[in-house]
C-alpha cells in the first residue's frame, strides 16, 4: 500500500507552525479595482475589516466549539459576553448612516463582517446577521418612522453596551418556503391576523422557526389585516417589542446546528400594537408589504451567500490545519499530491463563493433595496450633529412627519422593476451557489480528514451540521431557483404582436 503513496511535495512549514489570518487585500483582491477609484471608501472598509478581524480573533475563534457544546447541554444559553463585545465594535449599528447615529459603514463592510464571523462560527454570524433581515424588511417599506424607532433602539442600546437583537416573524406552521416566493405567496396559509382596534391593532397567531425569536427585543411581524380579503395587499408589517403583553416565546427548537442562534416559536395572543408601531406602506401605486419583503430578499440572500462563504473558508482552513499535522497511510498528508489537489479544490470553492456573493452584493448596492438609502451623505459634520440631543430630537420629529414619508417613498419609486428584479435574481444565485459550494466543502473536508473529521473537537463535523441550514432558510434553494428562472425568463420571451 505504501508504495503507491509518494511524498512528491515539500512540506508547507514545520508541524508546529500555525496558520495566519488573511489581510484585507489577500482576501478580497477584486475589490481593489473599485477602491483605487475611491481610496477613501476603500480605506474605511479595510479599517472596518481589521476591527472585525480583531473582534473575531479575540472573542469568537477561541470559544466557537465550546459554545456549540454548551448549547447542546443548555439550549437557552446566550453568549452575552460576545454580544456585549460586539457593541464595542459597533457591529449592531454599522449599517446605519451617521446621521441616524450609526457608524455609516459601506454595505460591503457589513457583509464582510458576516463572512468573517461565519468563518469561525456561522451560528454567531446568524445571531448578529438576523438583524439585517429585520432592518431590511423595514427598509423595504420605506417608512422613516418605523426605521427611526428601530435605529434609535439599536444605537441607544449599543452606547450602553446592551446588544439589541431583532427577529423577523414570517414563517408559520402552514407557510414555509411558499411565504418566500411571490408566486406562491397567495397560497401560503398565513393565519396570523391583525384586528383593527382603537389606537392600533391586535395580533393573534403563531410564528415558528423564528431566528432569535427568544432573544429579540423587537419583532418585525408580518400579518394579514383581518378586515381584508387575505390578499398580499392586505398584509401589514408591525414592530412588536418583546415586552408587549400577549407576546410569548414558549420554546426554542432543538436544531441540528447553528445552535447558538435560537429558532423559536413566537405566539401572539391579543397582542396590542399601537399605530406608531405599524409600518406605513405604499411606496407608489401597487406597492404593498409583500412587494417590499420580496425586494429585500436580494439583500438577505446575498447575506446567506456571505455566511456560506465563511463556512466554505472555514472548511478549507480546518482541513488545511489537519493535513498539515497528520499522516495518511504513514506519510505526511500535506506532502501527497492528491491531498494538495483536494485542498486546492476546497480553497477554490471558497474563492468562487466569495466572488459570487460579492457580485450579488455589488448588484444589490447599485440597484437593490439599499440603493435608495446609499444616497445619505457620510459627512463628519452629520456624525457630530447626530451626537447632539437637540439634533436627534429634531431629526426624529421630522422622520415621524408626512413629508419625510413622502420623500422616502419618492426615492423608492425611482427604482425600476428591472433593477429590483435583477438585484433579487443575483441574490438568488448567491444564496444557492454559495451554499452548494459550502456544503460540498464541508462534505469533502470531512472525507479528507477521515474518522477524526467526524469528531467535534476537530471542527469539521460542526461545519457540516451548520451548513445544512443555509440551504433551507431564506427560502429553500429550490424556491430560490424557481424565483431566479422566473425573473430571467420573463425578460427572455417576447410576446408576438
Amino acid at each position: 500500500m505504501e508504495a503507491c503513496l509518494i511524498n512528491e511535495c515539500p512540506p508547507f512549514a514545520n508541524r508546529d507552525s500555525s496558520i495566519t489570518e488573511w489581510s484585507f487585500l489577500e482576501r478580497y483582491p477584486e475589490l481593489s479595482f473599485y477602491f483605487k477609484k475611491d481610496p477613501a471608501v476603500g480605506a474605511r472598509i479595510e479599517a472596518h475589516y481589521r476591527r472585525v478581524q480583531a473582534y473575531v480573533q479575540r472573542y469568537i475563534a477561541p470559544v466557537a466549539l465550546e459554545i456549540d457544546l454548551k448549547m447542546m447541554r443548555d439550549p437557552n444559553y446566550v453568549p452575552m459576553d460576545l454580544l456585549e463585545a460586539a457593541c464595542d465594535y459597533k457591529l449592531f449599528s454599522m449599517m446605519f448612516p451617521s446621521v441616524f447615529g450609526g457608524s455609516g459603514e459601506h454595505i460591503v463592510a457589513a457583509f464582510i463582517t458576516y463572512e468573517l464571523i461565519a468563518s469561525h462560527c456561522v451560528g454567531l454570524s446568524n445571531l448578529i446577521g438576523v438583524n439585517g433581515l429585520a432592518i431590511g424588511c423595514i427598509l423595504s417599506t420605506f417608512d422613516p418612522r418605523s426605521l427611526s424607532i428601530m435605529i434609535n433602539l439599536i444605537t441607544e442600546n449599543e452606547k450602553k453596551r446592551i446588544p439589541t437583537l431583532l427577529s423577523t416573524c414570517v414563517t408559520e406552521p402552514g407557510a414555509g418556503s411558499d411565504a418566500e416566493d411571490a408566486d406562491e405567496f397567495e397560497k401560503a396559509v398565513l393565519k396570523t391576523t391583525a384586528t383593527r382596534v382603537k389606537g392600533g391593532y391586535e395580533l393573534n397567531g403563531t410564528k415558528i422557526f423564528i431566528s432569535n425569536g427568544s432573544l429579540a427585543q423587537l419583532h418585525v411581524v408580518i400579518a394579514y389585516d383581518a378586515a381584508g380579503k387575505h390578499r398580499p395587499e392586505d398584509l401589514l408589517v408591525f414592530l412588536v417589542p418583546n415586552t408587549t403583553p400577549g407576546v410569548s416565546t414558549p420554546r426554542n427548537e432543538k436544531k441540528m446546528g447553528q445552535r447558538v442562534c435560537p429558532a423559536t416559536e413566537v405566539v401572539f395572543e391579543n397582542a396590542f400594537v399601537p399605530d406608531a408601531y405599524v409600518c406605513r406602506q405604499g411606496a407608489g401605486k401597487g406597492e404593498y408589504a409583500y412587494t417590499g419583503i420580496a425586494n429585500v430578499l436580494g439583500l438577505t440572500r446575498a447575506g446567506v451567500g456571505a455566511f456560506a462563504t465563511g463556512v466554505a473558508e472555514n472548511a478549507y482552513r480546518t482541513a488545511l490545519k489537519f493535513v498539515h499535522r497528520h499522516d495518511f497511510l504513514g506519510q505526511p498528508m500535506e506532502q501527497q499530491q492528491w491531498v494538495r489537489v483536494e485542498l486546492a479544490n476546497l480553497a477554490r470553492r471558497a474563492q468562487v463563493s466569495r466572488s459570487t456573493y460579492l457580485n450579488a452584493l455589488l448588484t444589490v448596492a447599485s440597484m437593490g433595496v439599499v440603493e435608495p438609502m446609499s444616497g445619505v451623505p457620510e459627512k463628519t459634520i452629520l456624525k457630530e450633529l447626530s451626537k447632539h440631543p437637540l439634533f436627534v430630537k429634531a431629526r426624529d420629529a421630522f422622520l415621524h412627519m408626512e413629508p419625510a414619508d413622502k420623500m422616502f417613498k419618492w426615492k423608492a419609486s425611482q427604482q425600476t422593476t428591472y433593477e429590483r428584479d435583477t438585484a433579487t435574481a443575483y441574490g438568488d444565485v448567491a444564496k444557492v451557489g454559495c451554499t452548494e459550494l459550502a456544503m460540498e466543502n464541508c462534505q469533502k473536508a470531512i472525507s479528507l480528514m477521515g474518522k477524526l473529521g467526524l469528531r467535534h473537537e476537530y471542527g469539521a463535523e460542526k461545519l457540516l451540521r451548520d451548513v445544512k441550514l443555509l440551504q433551507i432558510y431564506e427560502g429553500t434553494n429550490q424556491v430560490n431557483m424557481l424565483d431566479y428562472i422566473k425573473r430571467r425568463m420573463t425578460r427572455q420571451f417576447v410576446t408576438s404582436a
Partner: protein, 356 residues
C-alpha cells in the same frame, strides 16, 4: 440462508424496533450509559442475533447478518453498527476457540486493514509485542469490557490480534462527541508501552491476518446494508412527509419538483439495496469480495450523504430539527462513510489489488 428465513428474521427485527421505539430514542440521546448499553445487549441477545456468523465453517451467514443489520438500520443505525461489530468480534473469539463473553466487545471498525499499521506503534521485544500510542475512535470502547486490537506493523507474519481486558479507565474518559451514530459510543485507547503476551494474544501470524483481512472485506456487505437502511429510511420519511405537508395550495407530493426529488432518492436507495443484496448472495466462506463488487458498494457510500441531504431539503425547516428523523439520517450517513476505513484508503487498496 433461504429467503423465507430471512423474511421471518426481518419481520421479527421490525416488530422489535416498533415495540422499542422509546428505547431506540433514548439510545440516540448521547452519551449511551453503561446501564442502557447493558439493556440493549440483553435484548439483542434474547433475539439471538449476536453470534450469527458462527465460525469459519459457517460464516457465509454474513448474508443473514447483512439482512438483520439492514432492518435495524432503518430504525437505528447505531444499533445496527453495534450489532455488526459484536458479531465480528464474536466470530474472531470463536475462531480462537474461546468462549464469547456476554458483554460488548470493542473493535476498531473505523479503520481499514491498510490503516492498522499507522494507529499505534507496535514493536517486538523478546516474546512479547509492545504497544505504544493512542488508537482513536474505537466504537463501544466506553461500554465494553474487552478490546480486540489488530496489532500490525506491515509484516503479516508478526500480526497479533490482542484481546485486552479493559478496566474502568475507558469509562472515565471524556466522552467523544461524534457527528452521527451517537448511540454507539466511541473511545480512544491509550497504550503506554503495554506488553501483549501470550495470554493477551487471541490470534496471530499470517493465516490469522489473512482471515481477518477476508472478514473485513466481507463485512463491507454489512456496512453497505446499514448505509442502505439509512437511505431507505431517509426516502421513506420524505415520502411520508410529502403526502401530508401542504404547501403552495396543495399537498407537496403533487408538486413535480418534489416528485422528481423523491424519484431520484428512490432510484438511489433502490440501487444501494439491490447492490448489497446482490453482492451478499455471492459471498463464499474465506473468499474476499471481488474488487468490482467492492467498488459497487463504495459507490453507494459516496452518494449516501447527498441523498440524505436531499431528504432534509425536502422537509424544509422541519427537516433540520431534532424532533424529526431526517437530521439524524443526514448525520448518520456521513458517519457511516468511514465504516471499515477511510474511503480513499480503500480506493487505493482496490486499485493496487487490480493493478498489482
Amino acid at each position: 440462508m433461504d429467503i423465507e428465513t430471512k423474511q421471518i428474521m426481518g419481520q421479527s427485527i421490525i416488530d422489535w424496533c416498533e415495540d422499542n421505539k422509546a428505547l431506540i430514542e433514548s439510545i440516540e440521546k448521547y452519551p449511551l450509559t453503561g446501564e442502557l448499553s447493558k439493556n440493549v445487549f440483553e435484548q439483542l441477545e434474547q433475539l439471538g442475533i449476536l453470534q450469527l456468523l458462527g465460525d469459519s465453517e459457517t460464516h457465509h451467514e454474513f448474508d443473514l447478518l447483512a439482512h438483520v443489520a439492514f432492518h435495524f438500520a432503518c430504525y437505528s443505525p447505531s444499533i445496527a453498527v453495534m450489532l455488526v461489530q459484536q458479531n465480528l468480534a464474536a466470530f474472531l473469539i470463536n475462531e480462537a476457540g474461546q468462549e464469547v463473553p456476554d458483554h460488548w466487545i470493542a473493535l476498531p471498525i473505523f479503520d481499514a486493514v491498510s490503516e492498522w499499521p499507522y494507529q499505534v506503534s507496535v514493536a517486538k521485544s523478546r516474546q512479547k509485542v509492545v504497544v505504544d500510542g493512542i488508537w482513536k475512535s474505537i466504537p463501544l470502547l466506553p461500554v465494553a469490557k474487552n478490546l480486540l486490537l489488530p496489532l500490525y506493523n506491515g509484516d503479516a507474519n508478526a500480526f497479533v490480534l490482542a484481546n485486552i481486558a479493559l478496566g474502568n479507565k475507558a469509562h472515565a474518559e471524556q466522552p467523544i462527541m461524534p457527528l452521527g451514530l451517537r448511540g454507539c459510543p466511541l473511545g480512544d485507547w491509550t497504550a503506554q508501552e503495554i506488553k501483549v503476551d501470550k495470554a493477551k494474544t487471541l490470534l496471530k501470524g499470517e493465516s490469522a491476518f489473512s482471515m481477518i483481512d477476508c472478514l473485513w472485506s466481507q463485512a463491507e456487505v454489512c456496512m453497505s446494508a446499514i448505509r442502505s437502511g439509512i437511505a431507505q429510511s431517509s426516502y421513506q420519511n420524505a415520502m411520508d412527509y410529502a403526502k401530508q405537508r401542504y404547501q403552495g395550495g396543495k399537498i407537496i407530493i403533487q408538486h413535480s419538483l418534489i416528485r422528481k426529488m423523491l424519484a431520484d432518492m428512490h432510484r438511489e436507495q433502490a440501487t444501494m439495496k439491490e447492490t448489497w443484496q446482490l453482492v451478499s448472495s455471492t459471498l463464499q466462506p474465506g473468499i474476499k469480495l471481488k474488487t468490482g463488487h467492492l467498488s459497487l458498494l463504495l459507490a453507494g457510500c459516496d452518494r449516501l450523504p447527498w441523498l440524505t441531504s436531499d431528504g432534509v431539503q425536502l422537509f424544509g425547516g422541519v427537516g433540520y430539527m431534532e424532533d424529526y428523523p431526517q437530521e439524524r439520517c443526514f448525520r448518520d450517513a456521513k458517519q457511516c462513510e468511514f465504516l471499515l476505513g477511510h474511503p480513499q484508503a480503500k480506493n487505493f487498496f482496490l486499485w493496487q489489488t487490480d493493478a498489482g
